[in-house]
Amino acid sequence: MLRIFEKIYRVGVVTEPAKAYTDPELEAIGAELKTAIDRRFSGSLGIRMVDAGSCNGCELEIHALNNAFYDLERFGVHFVASPRHADILLVTGPVSRHMQHALLTVYEAAPDPKWVVAVGTCAADGGEFGESYASCGPVGNVVPVDAVIRGCPPAPKDLLGGLLSLLAAR
């Protein structure tokens, strides 16, 4: 047990202030984020992540938002297990036709008001996969999209920046 405490003590806090990896503009948005979430969402913003057909690259980077460096929860943002608890749907991938109905069901299950964020190049414009017998293409072809975060995959700081911009703009 002592070894655990020793390791925790020696590693210390690695969480980075938002300004360490953002440009000045983003830093300003970052300062407003907590205020925005506090005001609009009583300090708590629920995100439901839906993989609608991605290669899983985007999921890896969304996962990274929870590591100690980015620590998304400090802004009052947390990932929820049900669309019924969600304020925002993060949708990745081109929407595969086999997932089309499931995505529509999730969209309907999320309470209004809700925002849909298309994450990654595939979700934004279909990416390498485009439209085909198996793929509906971008998320916007299936559900209304409020914001887009591009990248293949978007790095955690891009995801953070995209979320901040969405909230600051509303």
Binding site: I4, I62, H63, F79, H98, H101, V106, A134
Partner: protein, 546 residues
């Protein structure tokens, strides 16, 4: 520790005293099965053998009797003149030697005997071929569809060349409600449907549990939700474009699949990759392996609420990915492997820094390992959870850390070594217990082994070009590549059409053989341990569904 792992330098295959492939072909001869050696240089990792479609099942039976492993099966539409023709293929392995069975179905022939009765691992692949090409496997134990949900009809076959890329989709593809799951009935038996949308940040798929109380009686997987038509949209691409697509077969295996696709294309086009590029490819692949294993170890611990380890390993993974970004320009190393070589050189400063990074990570891992090993509440959840017996793993053809945790000491990097692994020492990890703890420990040992590999590759990194000129292959040129990805053996088949464009691309992710293992190892475990067992296998949905 890994009592079974015997480090040895890979020997070129010509030094094998006993060649299992020759032995198998001699057996075919004794049994009166007509075989033709075909002579495609691009298929060289395997011995290509043409047989008659009628012998498809019989050859599998004989190969199973000789202890071969079924390493993949697929088909190709090879033309419509004068009538539709198909080429069925399946790959078999024993002791690191591969044979590629090929049968041409001519003159509107649509049937061949199934290999699944002798190789359970062939079950889903054959159903997939049936859904995509309309070939029937006679004697197949399962008549249900696999790849097809409701995006196309039972009389449409998307991988036939006559099928349009756009298909004939409905405005909204209906959910696949009619799939007949196995039913368990009896007093107190109930079903739990899970997915396709899961509770966490993970890919979609459906799991149907039959349970009694908390105990899992049966689990049935239903995959195919992220089928994106990768094989179809590969058709007509040039080499660079195909490499980019291969990098998105499974995002966590972007290096592995791109390397496999590039090797297959290079074999078909007879392009020689420069030494320096080969070494850098090896470094990229090992960095991918380490990044994924770090993530998985943390995630396994997270699934039993050991938050300390979850945060420590996600910290190590993040630092590792940041180094990827600064040395190679991409956190997940996408599009770094390209046809003919690599897209990004490794500077001497970066190589020096990487040598220091290896020492740093080893020290961190040395500190963390006893904390995990001595934590009773962690070990209590991991040891004896989700046991996969060696016999089951062999029957299913399991690969990578799933197989190596169940005592199957197979690793392409040593047993069928390719450059750059043929010139260095590779120490595959191996454990016997087959439980979640073993799958975690194999990953831990594999990180150490990969650190050792990267150190050797850094030392052997010579000067020179990093990319060879591309040479357009002849129409019909084929390539087969086998690469040890972080999940295990990746198989990739490519056939070029005219103008150097791709006519057929089939990537076989190791998940194809590891997903069925999850259905078996969950038996008798409790439902709440499913996420843990699932994470310990960590199959790729996207790599499976294509």
């Amino acid at each position: 520790m890994s009592a079974l792992a015997k480090p040895r330098i890979a020997q070129p295959t010509r030094f094998h005293q006993f060649d299992p492939v020759e032995d198998l072909l001699a057996e075919f001869d004794r049994q009166g099965i007509a075989i033709h050696y075909s002579n495609e240089p691009g298929l060289i990792p395997a011995v290509p053998i043409a047989i008659k479609p009628d012998d498809w099942g019989r050859t599998a039976e004989l190969a199973a009797g000789k202890g071969f492993r079924w390493a993949g099966g697929w088909a190709d539409d090879i033309g419509s003149m004068p009538s539709l023709r198909f080429l069925a293929m399946s790959c078999l392995e024993k002791d690191g030697r591969f044979v590629l069975l090929r049968a041409v179905l001519d003159a509107d022939q649509r049937e061949l005997p199934s290999q699944a009765p002798w190789f359970p691992g062939a079950n889903r692949s054959e159903r997939r071929t049936r859904d995509a090409f309309g070939l029937d496997f006679i004697g197949h134990p399962d008549a249900r569809r696999w790849l097809r949900h409701q995006a196309w009809t039972a009389d449409e076959f998307p991988l036939r060349k006559s099928f349009p890329r756009s298909g004939n989709p409905k405005a909204v593809t209906p959910p696949d409600k009619a799939y007949a799951f196995q039913r368990a009935q009896g007093h107190g038996v109930y079903e739990i449907p899970v997915g396709p949308v899961h509770a966490g940040i993970i890919e979609p798929g459906h799991f149907r549990f039959s349970a009694v109380g908390e105990t899992v009686l049966n689990l049935e997987e239903r995959l195919g939700y992220v089928h994106k038509g990768i094989e179809k949209i590969a058709e007509g691409r040039g080499p660079d474009s195909l490499a980019r697509l291969a990098g998105r077969v499974s995002g966590d295996t972007t290096v592995g699949h791109t390397w496999a696709a590039c090797r297959a294309m290079e074999q078909a086009a007879e392009v020689r990759v420069p030494e320096r590029a080969l070494t850098i490819r090896g470094i990229l692949a090992e960095r991918e392996r380490i990044a994924n294993h770090l993530g998985d170890i943390g995630a396994i611990c997270n699934d039993v609420a050991f938050a300390f380890a979850s945060y420590q390993f996600s910290r190590l993974r993040e630092l590792w990915l940041r180094n990827n970004r600064s040395w190679f320009g991409h956190r997940l190393l996408m599009d770094r492997v390209v046809p003919g070589g690599v897209a990004h050189d490794l500077s001497s400063e970066a190589a020096a820094a990487m040598a220091g990074e290896l020492i740093w990570l080893r020290k961190e891992l040395d500190e963390l390992r006893p904390i995990l090993a001595d934590n009773d509440s962690l070990q209590d959840r991991l040891v004896t959870a989700g046991v996969l017996p060696e016999a089951t793993a062999r029957a299913l053809g399991c690969l990578g850390f799933v197989a190596r945790a169940s005592g199957i000491d197979f690793d392409l990097r040593r047993d069928a070594a390719y450059a750059p692994y043929d010139r260095i020492e590779v120490r595959p990890a191996c454990h016997r217990d087959g439980d979640v703890a073993a799958r975690l420990n194999v990953r831990y040992d594999e990180i150490y082994a990969s650190l050792h590999i990267i150190a050797q590759l850094l030392r052997s990194l010579g000067k020179g070009p990093i990319r060879a000129d591309w040479r357009t292959p002849d129409a019909g040129a084929e390539g087969l590549a086998l690469v040890e990805g972080w999940r295990g053996e990746i198989l990739c088949y490519i056939r070029f059409g005219s103008d150097g464009r791709i006519s057929r691309y089939y990537p076989r992710d190791p998940s194809v053989f590891n997903w069925p293992a999850l259905e078996r190892l969950i038996h008798g475990n409790i439902v709440p341990d499913f996420p843990l067992c699932n994470k310990s296998v960590n199959g790729s949905y996207s790599g499976h569904d294509l």
